[in-house]
Subunit: 405 residues, 2 copies
């Protein structure tokens, strides 16, 4: 059976995602589609709108056959680490291909870029370090360093977010010596951060979330009916969507009451940030206000959001940096009948242990899995009671969703 | 000038307190009355109904001339440490006398008890340790050990909470070799924990708080009009009174996300409690429910409440146990004109530095003062915005209240 891999967040699953799956299927004609998906917290250091189980169901109803979780240690990281974690999982699941969306849309541009950077890697790293030392953020340093290497028209524009991710997928395939063949599909219409509805049927997840939180603008034309139904069900079940502001009282408390020495132990809290955080927290009445007052040229909004998330989950440098470089398990969140057949067929050749239910796997003391569970508990604390309690222990007990169709 | 000392919490100030002040004044005819008062958190490990500034004003309007704060390190402790901290402060302020309320009401009983225990101290401690080892709480062990010493009718009943405190005041005066002369006045009518209104004009603070939180029962006959006015003003200014439930979301978050090794560092979190706390927290939707599920024969409710408070303020064993045994400053919260005259007169003979405004004293790195400030920040986090921000930094900036009359 031929397996196509996707790397996704589905926050929430919308028509652009549906289009991508359909286009990818037409390109490689797979037997099954496997998505590795961020859990309750996303690459930008944000809580997902709805929990991983609802997003898994959206994915299955949208045509994905197997959904596996990208562990917290990889999901909440810069593009390079995120990509390495995600590609490792697809590789361990014996995927044949990976199809990603990009602003560029031509896989050769990515391969050319990768070759060029690999050939000039030493110089590339020197450029990056020089820019970082001058006080600018990592993504900007990457972009400048790439420009300094004098790229041609046959290479991708590394200032576009999906191109950057795509580049790192190719790099990860290389690093892992994986047989996965990469494809890319040009993203339709919506720019990644576009906050407005620009097309008839496709809008960015950002603009959809904005519409949901503001109660302005109808999202019906931009999402499959299954997504719409699940979003309504989420409100029925948990009363609200998740957003950073829900976690602000906890973050403020923690920043104000942690010792400086404790904050310094947290992953991505670099020297000096702890004081900056404390001074800003005492004066801020909302997460937005807090973020506005801590951002600097050196640290992107995303980078600081991730640091805040790690403070909340109490994730330390030692938790993130002393583990092996790639994921150590496959956490199955959901599957279709076809997906189940694939997993049965592959059972003996999967390259990592498959976890169906954490309560059965628990006790092995896997640090990455502990991080996932801590993150899920935190995610629940963004809700009020009794919804909070309903979600608090769910991840520990819940078996994968099985879609019959 | 002759100074009478009182040790108080005033949660809130009521007619019983007024009666005590008047009776004490008649007994010793002082020039000034000095109260050492717990700050925002009390001996039972609870947040005070209203903040220390409002309670200071109640005290000044009730006839107290000087209000000095009992630091967190002493205020949130078992009777022995609470008493030592409070008596030290009255001693450092050169008080001539201390008058405390008790169930017993006869100072000779206390002095006899103190002599007897001092003479049999070694045996007394052995008895206490034996009972504690058998798995009962410290206060119960104390009571049993005392009974084993075969007390006579001329001694106090050490199973009554105010008698126990009184005993420790006498003990502290002894330990400090203080010239303070102790008096006691029998408490009128209300038992300490009495939850019902039993008298015409005097009710326990517990029953008054209960009436305030339940909005049932009129408190007017039990508190001076000044207290009533200040309680109404508190609601105007901050929208609600403080109670443990306000802090439950923060406590639950902290218990669930602290590492076991971190919880074990917290003062009063003894071996094994950290797991008990974690298991109970995940299943509890309120502080009451949580407390019900963690209490054991070994640990009193009060003891566990204090442990919870220390978790919230992130107060470690090292913060509480490695400091000198007595307070290191006098934090002035308020004074009358007469109080100001007394302090001016005593200026050069006060035995500890007097802090009028923390922002002027800050930077000396006094650990006890840091604890007080952390506790005040936490206290503010029990309110919603914008009230929270109004209170958050207050303790750092606010000068003492001066009552003109």
């Amino acid at each position: 059976m031929k397996a196509l891999g996707l790397i996704v967040e589905y926050n929430p699953f919308h028509n652009g995602h549906l289009f991508h799956i359909e286009a990818a299927k037409q390109t490689v004609m797979p037997d099954v589609v496997i998505a590795v998906m961020s859990g309750n917290f996303l690459q930008r250091g944000e809580p997902a709108l709805v929990n991983k189980w609802y997003r898994t169901e959206m994915a299955l109803l949208g045509g994905v056959d197997i959904v596996v979780e990208l562990p917290y240690r990889f999901a909440t990281q810069k593009a390079e680490t995120f990509a390495l974690g995600a590609v490792s999982i697809l590789n361990a699941l014996n995927c044949d291909s990976l199809c990603f969306g990009s602003e560029d849309g031509d896989i050769n541009s990515f391969l050319n870029t990768r070759s060029m950077i690999e050939e000039n890697n030493e110089q590339f790293q020197q450029y990056i370090n020089r820019y970082i030392k001058s006080g600018i953020s990592y993504p900007t340093a990457l972009k400048y360093a790439f420009n300094d290497l004098a790229p041609t028209d046959e290479m991708v524009n590394l200032s576009k977010p999906n191109n950057i991710l795509g580049y790192h997928y190719i790099e990860a395939i290389d690093k892992l010596c994986s047989p996965i063949k990469a494809f890319t599909i040009k993203r339709k219409n919506a720019e990644y951060h576009d906050e407005h509805f620009a097309s008839e049927t496709i809008a960015s997840a950002t603009s959809i979330r904005k519409a949901l939180f503001s109660n302005k603008g109808d999202i019906d034309r931009f999402v499959p009916i299954s997504t719409k139904d699940l979003l309504i069900k989420y409100i029925d079940d948990f009363q609200e969507f998740h957003q950073w502001e829900n976690y602000w009282p906890l973050l403020k408390y923690r920043i104000l009451h942690a010792a400086n020495s404790e904050l310094k132990e947290i992953y991505e809290v670099e020297e000096g940030l702890e004081n900056r955080f404390k001074n800003a927290a005492i004066q801020s009445q909302s997460f937005q206000q807090f973020m506005q007052s801590i951002k600097t040229k050196r640290y992107t909004w995303t980078r600081l959001q991730r640091a805040c998330l790690h403070i909340l989950t109490n994730t330390k440098k030692v938790d993130m940096l002393t583990q092996i470089e790639t994921p150590s398990y496959l956490r199955l969140l959901g599957m279709s009948e076809k997906g189940r057949n694939y997993l049965n067929q592959q059972k003996k050749s999967l390259q990592l242990p498959l976890i169906s239910k954490v309560s059965s796997f628990h006790g092995n003391g896997n640090l990455d899995l502990e991080l996932d569970l801590k993150a899920s508990k935190l995610y629940a604390l963004g809700l009020s009671e009794p919804y909070q309690t309903r979600l608090l222990d769910l991840d520990f007990r819940k078996p994968p969703i099985i879609l019959k169709r």
